[in-house]
């Protein structure tokens, strides 16, 4: 058995805290963009997810994702209730840190992923239905896909798909589930007729800043050690975010003026796109990955608007399309010079890697979209997915929580 490394363990504990912080940061990122009457409701959709999924993960989620593989499709129940997950390392996943540290770190990813989806259904979702959805989604979408991509024996991992920190597991699943949810749920009242104005863009900037910081734990921690690979991931992460923020600034400038909401959106999109690639590509490649992510998501928003679809905070355009680009870009720019344990991409003479990445992307898209569609249709039929028209007009802060953000 490998020995515990104190430096690695310290870094993963810090990275765990950084990734945990990203979900409340996301709460503010989203909260700033809704109307004042739904500010608390929107913040709470993210915050309560920390509670729900922490429990789900300890009880069943971790073992479904990382338990002994059953046919490459799902983890077995050998880690049910974190049984046997202790101070001793698990050589399969992280040989130099306690197994329990690995499972705690992974828990924070499982938490933020369904929280990302909440941007699709703000300002109209019925809270009770959301609670049930989140538990079902974590169990039937996140845990299986995490197993396929990251679990030993998982079908996509066995195929050689690369996903350093969750471009496929986190961003593609969240983005395309958001799309399905928005289609089933329908648009907000007055959507497309009156401006549904952001109530507090500084909250969104604050959230984006904290997400950017937290992402150093998200991507840097995915090296699962305090080493050169973690540093590479941190540098590519920062560089891609910077490139996307600057490019988005120019895109919005062309339309009108350099929008602050646009600039911080760009930063987040750059962070999304570099996520699967952070530990496989060079800093120069990360400029292209971030720089191109901005127009991809920018025009995806325009397309979504053309469809007249109220996917309210553009989770699909930013996370779904940003994640898809990042996963494909990993198949282009990956190099063993950065990470000998990875693979070479198309630009390093291995076109096969791009094909593998594309297959993994398509599988994740189809599965996440399909299962979310079924879950939301069922909830819509048996529980009611949205509040009444009157409750929606009053705002969810009052109608769902009996509180208001400001006196």
């Amino acid at each position: 058995m490998d020995a515990i490394n104190a430096g690695d363990t310290a870094w993963i504990l810090i990275a765990t805290a950084l990734v945990m912080m990203m979900t409340p940061a996301l709460a503010f990122f989203y909260g700033g963009m809704v109307r004042k009457k739904n500010l608390l409701s929107t913040i709470n959709l993210s915050f309560i997810t920390v509670g729900l999924i922490s429990l789900q993960w300890v009880i069943i989620g971790y073992t479904l994702a990382f338990g002994t593989s059953v046919g490459g499709l799902i983890g077995g129940l050998n880690f049910f209730g974190l049984a046997g997950v202790s101070a001793a390392p698990n050589a399969d996943y992280a040989p130099t840190i306690p197994h329990l540290a690995f499972s705690a770190y992974q828990m924070m990813f499982a938490i933020i992923t369904p929280a990302l989806i909440t941007g699709a259904f703000v300002e109209r979702v019925r809270f009770k239905a959301f609670l049930v959805f989140t538990i079902l989604w974590a169990t039937f979408v996140y845990d299986p896909v995490a197993h396929w991509v990251w679990g030993v024996g998982g079908i996509l991992r066995s195929m050689g798909a690369l996903d350093f920190a969750g471009g496929t597991v986190v961003h593609i699943t969240a983005g395309f589930s958001a799309l399905a949810f928005a289609i089933v749920l329908g648009k907000r009242k007055w959507f497309g007729h009156a401006a549904l104005e952001p109530n507090n863009i500084p909250f969104t900037v604050l959230g984006a800043g904290l997400l950017w910081m937290g992402w150093f734990g998200f991507n840097g921690g995915s090296a699962l050690a305090a080493n050169g690979l973690a540093v590479n991931a941190l540098v590519t992460t920062n560089t891609a975010a910077a490139a996307a923020a600057v490019v988005w600034m120019f895109l919005s400038w062309r339309d009108n003026k350099p929008s602050v909401l646009g600039i911080v959106t760009g930063a987040v999109v750059g962070l999304v796109a570099i996520t699967p690639a952070a530990g496989f590509v060079t800093p120069m490649a990360s400029i292209l990955i971030g720089g191109l992510a901005a127009p991809i998501s920018f025009y995806a928003i325009r397309l979504r608007q053309k469809w007249g679809l109220d996917e309210s905070l553009d989770v699909w355009a930013c996370h779904g399309m940003g994640g898809t680009w990042g996963a494909l870009a990993t198949g282009l720019f990956a190099t063993k010079l950065v990470n000998p344990a990875g693979a070479d991409g198309l630009f390093y003479g291995n076109p096969g890697q791009f094909v593998i990445q594309a297959i993994a992307v398509l599988v994740a898209i189809a599965f996440a979209f399909g299962v979310t569609f079924v879950i939301t249709k069922a909830l819509s039929r048996f529980m009611g997915l949205r509040v009444s028209e009157n409750e929606e007009e009053v705002g969810l802060d009052i109608s769902e929580h009996g509180e208001r953000a400001y006196a």
Partner: protein, 131 residues
Amino acid sequence: MTKKIEAIFREEKLIAVKEALSNIGIVGMNVMEVRGHGRQGGIELAGRIGTYKVDLLPRVQLNIILSDHNVEKTIETIQQAAQTGNIGDGIIFVYPVEEVIRIRNGERGHDALTYAGDIDTRQEVFLQAAD
């Protein structure tokens, strides 16, 4: 006779208007933040991508109660100070006022409106100086 002037104009002109009114001796006023639109209809603001239209724009509403003979000069002062020449500059309404009562001492009518140094007492000073 007593009148109420209700002037709705651009927020950024509030300091200039207050300054100009204070120069002619208008002392009492209250100010409200309002939202609305007239013929201008609204403006485009920058969004995540592109722009979106906002049709209720922030303006300030200044309320002043004063004697009939001071109305024209006050209107003129507000109009000059609040003007940019662009659409959306705002509007001024004038209404008759039935009665004015100062809460502190129950003074009514013109007495309740007069302060030391206001537009009326100042005119007396000017008149004395002219003598």
